[in-house]
Amino acid sequence: MSGSVLQYCSTTFAITLCLWGHPYLNSIFLLFFFFFSLTPWVPVVGLEIHAQISSNSKLFSGSQVQFAAPPNSLVSFFDASLPGTLPVLNRRCVEAAVMTGLALNCSINKKSLFDRKHYFYADLPAGYQITQQRVPIAVNGSLSYSLCIDNKMSQMVTKTVRIKQIQLEQDSGKSLHDDVRSQTLVDLNRAGVGLMEVVMEPDMCCGEEAAAAVRELQLILQTLGSSQAVMAEGQLRVDANVSVHHPGEPYGVRTEVKNINSIRFLAKAVDYEIERQIEELESGGTILNETRAFDSKLGCTVPMRDKEGKQDYRFMPEPNLPPLILYNARSLPANMNHQQVVNIDWIHERLPDLPSVKRAKLVEQYGILPEHSFTLLNEAGLTEFFEDVIKQTQMKPKKVIGWILNDLLSYLKQHSLTVKESPVSSFLLADLLNRLEKKEISSTAAKQVFAELWKGEGKTPLEIVKEKKLQLIQDQEDLERICQAVMAIKSGNRKVLNKLIGLVQRETQGRSNPVLVKQLLEKKLSE
């Protein structure tokens, strides 16, 4: 019996994994419950997210921050932890953290503290990381995110995850292991770069939720500019804490899954880990409180070799940094140099529209569907592109959105391009849509023009239309002749009328006015 359950379990999960963003684990467990009368498992997922702060210089030193610079070219004396060097806090990083805290509905601590977290590792030159363990800069926030049910864009639900805290801390360097020559090379370019660690409470229950929450966070960070949050460049790194338990029982032992470097993998890793834990427990095993890595090639999590066994980080206050004091308009000291204070209210007033607000505005302003607003925001620059097109065209936004999402976006996806890299500019697309709107061309022809435009040969839609003879054929005689020809082949009844229209269209490469063709065909048929 139990064997078959497991089998069922695995196959179901395999399906879940294939269709990312597909059925809920919950519903699967309910299935269990009904079919096998087993106690269901409740998966619990919490996240720790490290976001690299977008800043010219590092958290405590003046070295530049830059991706893929030559190894060890961005290392100050402090970054290499030369004896006698001291940390000096970067104001920009503090502002980024405050901004992010405010955007995530956190309360900002007017006084926060820095601590040292000790461990020996080759890419941690000081032997400790400066972080905010005791009193972080922001606490008690929340993040709302939406996801679709049953993979249907039209059925979206909004969920909320609590944000426990946001802390400022240093990034470590990078170790490169050369197994052939059995040596480790260390690159300290990243050492000391400012990070915001966002700790999310275990309010999620599956990979899809975790992925949606991280995606929303990513959008918020990018909107704020507090982090570029490009996962592929390590600017956003996610560790997932996963456990399962029976309803009404305390949380199970959790594992921490590290090395997740894309949102897709996050969903996979979490779902795999949930499945693994359930299998383990159902077969009488136990879950170890361990760190696991996600192997994206195998699609599974594997235990990580622990760096030093059970770690005692020997936390201690950082004595070289006074408490970080933030001010609001009321507490702002009059005699203080403005360069040296961070004013929370000032930052609050200047927060840009967050993604949720932007979406609501799009829906309201253009009458598009909510799910379309998600798609628009999910693609960097797509909203701006959409709005640019709207400004330059007479077509209704509701129709424009179809072109943006169905044509532009799918072409972009097919060619793995970003909106910025699109060969079709908003100007060209607007021009094309205007011609369609003026009925100069049919929508089929418009698609062809779009395909031509995509080639990026510098032609205007008009040029393409002329070149390819895609204008709508308005000449009745012409059309009559074509229809006659078609009729000669096909003598049929009214049911095949549409098919005939299609044939006419094919014959004319979509250039014939379908209304006219229909009338003609009807006339011919009635003859």
Binding site: A80, T85, P87, F120, R314, M316, P319
Partner: protein, 504 residues
């Protein structure tokens, strides 16, 4: 040049680890040119100074008297060193210390112990009677105290005008007392620590060793002030000051903290202390006994906080980026272990071990947090006393005069540090300014000093009182016949006024 030859002739003192002869001569030459042009950089232009070997000096080895940093040449100057150089001071060299400034004798460095110049003074030789005739004449030499013993000895033996020390628990004042020089520990946050290789970040301050209080004020004036590279320095502008001669002390209130009558305080020093109190009283000052009730817990808490920060600060010495690296290459971990075993002496390793113990999750609350709480109580003790109208506290600096090296090494570093820092570390726990003023010679002909502790950032008041006191006690000059004899040739050649002659 005179100083350099004096350094050579006093080499046996082992005060210097590195003598920067070439650069010093070059700096002196440039200074002379500036004087000729009539454009000296400041009061310190051309003045020879020495710097404790735990301050980073660009181009000159910085060792901390440890195998770990032997041969380490820093790429940058500590802020205080830079400030001195910017004023035209001539950097003679780097002075000896206990390894990483952990000690109170200047005996525990990898370059060997520092000998107290007073061991070779006429005053000491006349008074010290060899216990037995068989005893080697040379084994009688006394320690300098520490950990800035090299700096104290360098100033005391006239090889430089002023020296930088560091003071974490008394490391500037203690050797100053034993070597008969002025040792100033400024308020925490007044002088930048950037470039000072830390012992305890929350207590370290650069210390100033000079032959008189006025000189200390001059050096302080050139070093103090905000440093953007050290976030713990205060933002307020510091105005250098000249000390006026205090004529009237009747408005002064001098506190005598009774807790400083510590076990082990020599009767000689006790007598000197009360004599000093009488001196103030007779001059019209108000002298009152005060209480700093938490003083006796201070040294234990100091030990906990000190070792915890040591454990943390020493973590960076892993042999990867700089410093000693062991040949052991089986794994990164074994390389770390071997590097640190070879690089650090027992004292340093011992403190790292106990510090890490105090920081363990299960001990943190019971040791570190408690010690921090007591530290707050100790600081509050001072606040209360100063709040009650006391201007300056007068205490002994050390329990006794300097003891012979052979005597000193009978106890381990840990015991010695606990004894020797007992009267000085509370000022570090509270961050207060304190100064040792050489007061008199002991029965054995060795210097004894007293300590003044002032209010936070009230260096001017502290030094003014110290200067008045200095004037009253007329501490005798050291009579270094031996050095003179060694140095005979130089004396013949150089007729210009040396610091030695100038001062006597």
């Amino acid at each position: 040049q005179r100083c350099l030859s004096l350094i050579k002739s006093t080499k046996f003192l082992n005060a210097y680890i590195t003598v920067a002869e070439e650069t010093a001569l070059k700096q002196a030459e440039e200074s002379e040119k500036r004087y000729k042009r009539g454009q000296p950089l400041g009061v310190l232009d051309g003045i020879p100074i020495a710097v404790k070997d735990n301050f980073n000096t660009a181009g000159i080895e910085t060792t901390c008297a440890s195998n770990m940093l032997k041969g380490y040449i820093s790429p940058y100057n500590a802020t205080v060193v830079q400030k001195l150089l910017d004023q035209g001071a001539v950097l003679l060299g780097k002075t000896n210390l206990d390894e990483f400034a952990m000690g109170s004798g200047s005996t525990d460095g990898v370059f060997g112990p520092v000998r107290n110049p007073w061991s070779y003074s006429r005053q000491y030789k006349e008074k010290s009677v060899p216990k037995s005739h068989s005893e080697d004449k040379d084994s009688n030499w006394v320690i300098t105290g520490g950990s800035s013993g090299g700096s104290a000895a360098a100033v005391s033996s006239f090889t430089c005008f002023a020296a930088l020390g560091s003071d974490t628990g008394g490391s500037t004042r203690n050797p100053a007392a034993h070597c008969g020089v002025v040792g100033l520990k400024p308020t925490y946050g007044l002088i930048s620590r950037h470039g000072l290789i830390p012992l305890v970040n929350s207590m370290d301050v650069p210390g100033i060793l000079t032959r008189c209080v006025d000189d200390a004020a001059v050096v302080l004036g050139s070093l103090a002030g905000h440093d953007p590279k050290d976030s713990t320095t205060i933002q307020d502008n510091f105005k250098p000051f000249e000390l006026s001669d205090l004529t009237d002390v009747s408005k002064l209130s001098i506190g005598i903290p009774k807790e400083y009558h510590a076990p082990g305080l020599s009767s000689e020093i006790l007598a000197l202390w009360s004599k000093a109190a009488d001196l103030f009283k007779n001059a019209g000052a108000k002298v009152i006994e005060v209480s700093l009730p938490h003083t006796r817990y201070s040294i234990v808490c100091y030990h906990v906080l000190c070792t915890a920060e040591v454990a943390s600060n020493m973590a960076r010495f892993d042999g990867l980026e700089y410093g000693h690296r062991s040949d052991m290459n089986k794994s990164t971990e074994s390389m770390y272990a071997a590097t640190r075993r070879e690089g650090f002496n027992d004292v340093v390793r011992g403190r790292i071990l106990s510090g890490n113990y105090f920081l363990l999750k299960q001990n943190y609350e019971n040791y570190f947090i408690k010690a921090q709480k007591v530290r707050r109580l100790i600081a509050n003790d001072f606040v209360k006393v100063f709040g009650s109208g006391v201007d300056i506290l007068l205490t002994p600096t050390t329990l006794s005069d300097a003891i012979p090296y052979m005597e000193f090494i009978k106890e381990d570093n840990r015991t010695r540090s606990a004894q020797d820092d007992i009267l000085t570390q509370a000022a570090n726990m509270a961050g207060l300014p304190a100064i040792n003023v050489p007061t008199a010679l002991s029965e054995r002909g060795l210097p004894v000093g007293l300590q003044f502790i002032g209010r936070s950032f009230q260096e001017k008041q502290l030094l003014t009182v110290a200067k008045w006191f200095e004037k009253q006690v007329k501490f005798p000059m050291i009579q270094l016949d031996e050095v003179k004899r060694h140095d005979h040739g130089v004396f013949q050649h150089q007729k210009s006024a040396s610091f030695l002659e100038h001062r006597t």
